[in-house]
Symmetry: C3
Subunit: 207 residues, 3 copies
């Protein structure tokens, strides 16, 4: 019998994704001539920005990242890790980083959809909220570094989060339990993201 | 006897402006080397961003654009239209585009002021909220494309929305019904915007 | 016996900082080829942006800057002052501007922490909210002008706000009254900011 995803499980998933995105945000920022506090700020914004925007949009205020100290503490830890072990971080093989990022994207896409549904948002908008949770932090990071957000230009990224969210919503509607549907959705997002990097897929350009 | 503007009329006006701004945002984005999803995201941000920011600022959460599926569906339709008929969109004569944009600006300025007043915001701030509704989406679009927002640099744009909002508030205070005052405000915004483009008016530069 | 900080005192402090930041934002904007309305918009965003973001994050909606007409009126006055006396503003000696800015930063750091605590935010997050109140407006200003936010790159700025907030929280916990703890926190922020400019301190770079 499928069991519902507990609040505890959602929190663990969310904090894991927060840590991964903080590490990634800090790594990006460290290459952009920022000072130490700037790196930490970008790590915070990358890790927490997507969830904060989602919470503001679905009316869950104050956002979880403000109400629950474990979110900023986790983002802080991720940023500090990078600052402390930067030479090591720089030698991490690219495929590992892609995998870590794809995992964080998938986890956030799932928790984003779930939290939106819990707040009475319609399934269609909940899927969008999942994509915002997963890719919003990266958009804020790119804006702070004055770059056109990568998600607008290249790769199959937000599209993977949208697919994952849609799979979650549809499999749950088809009768799957919340936990299984979440696994299915997260797995679909993760798989599409990895395959698209491996095969150098891009969405077609406009114009 | 002047009749109040019905909620239905406001919705129709709002959705029309949403469609127009989505078309315009997507057209801008299609010239900026984005992929297809990027174009749709910019269309969404242009069409819905101003209203979402207004709703967050006046405390109407979740924002209408999240609560009511017709807003994202309309923005989506506008974006898709551009993607599907891009060569056609590119041959549209410039004056038509200016007129379409001025119409959307005027409609959003009116609905922005009205919604702010309904939420107990003071008339002075409600006029600002109308300008934010009308020009906020364009600011977000320009930030995503890493440009100094056009509204800060050139043209009589936000100023037209401010004029329209002020006319609405003042004529209503002078005893005009809500519908007539809205027509007067929207008309003033539309007229000032068109005349300023036609006569190449700009606000004076600072410095 | 230490007396609590009255709401009136907080408002006066907040409006003073709003005026100072509006002057500063408008001065920056006047050097960036904007038109007059653009300068006023940047003045608004610099002066009110940090507080608005803080209020959205702590769930105090509508934000004070929207609810209370004195905030926008003060920001407007600051922007107009710069536009009217721009040649004069440009001849102001740099040390004066640095002092004015440090004062505004310190005032906002204090009122940001206090308001967050009043809304039940934990002390750790309240300190972050103080830093966001003090430096958020400048980040929005830099984003509008398409620059990497200064706070990420250079100087001891957000760090001074963080120190001030921490001093406030810790001295109050140690038994100091709210007014005295606020003075201590604001003073620490102001002193660290001024000394760091005078001694050309920067935070270490990452990477």
């Amino acid at each position: 019998m499928p069991r519902p995803l507990t609040a505890r499980a959602l929190l663990v998933i969310d904090l894991s994704a927060t840590l991964l995105f903080a590490v990634e945000g800090a790594s990006e920022a460290a290459g952009a001539h920022l000072d130490l506090l700037g790196v930490l700020i970008v790590a915070f914004a990358t890790a927490l920005g997507g969830g904060v925007v989602r919470d503001l949009l679905i009316g869950a205020t104050p956002p979880g990242a403000i109400r629950d100290w474990r979110y900023p503490a986790t983002a802080f830890a991720g940023g500090l890790l990078v600052v402390a072990f930067l030479p090591l971080v720089r030698r991490l093989p690219a495929p590992l980083l892609v995998g870590v990022d794809a995992a964080a994207l998938s986890l956030f896409a799932v928790t984003g959809v779930r939290k939106a549904l819990q707040h009475g948002i319609s399934p269609f908008m909940a899927v969008l909220m999942g994509a915002i949770t997963g890719s919003g932090g990266g958009v804020i990071r790119d804006l702070l570094l004055v770059r056109v957000p990568a998600v607008l230009r290249t790769d199959v990224y937000a599209a993977a989060a949208l697919l994952g969210g849609a799979v979650l919503v549809l499999t749950q509607r088809a009768g799957l339990g919340a936990a299984l549907a979440s696994f299915a959705g997260g797995g679909a997002c993760f798989a599409l993201r990895l395959v698209s990097v491996w095969r150098h897929w891009n969405l077609p350009r406009a114009g």
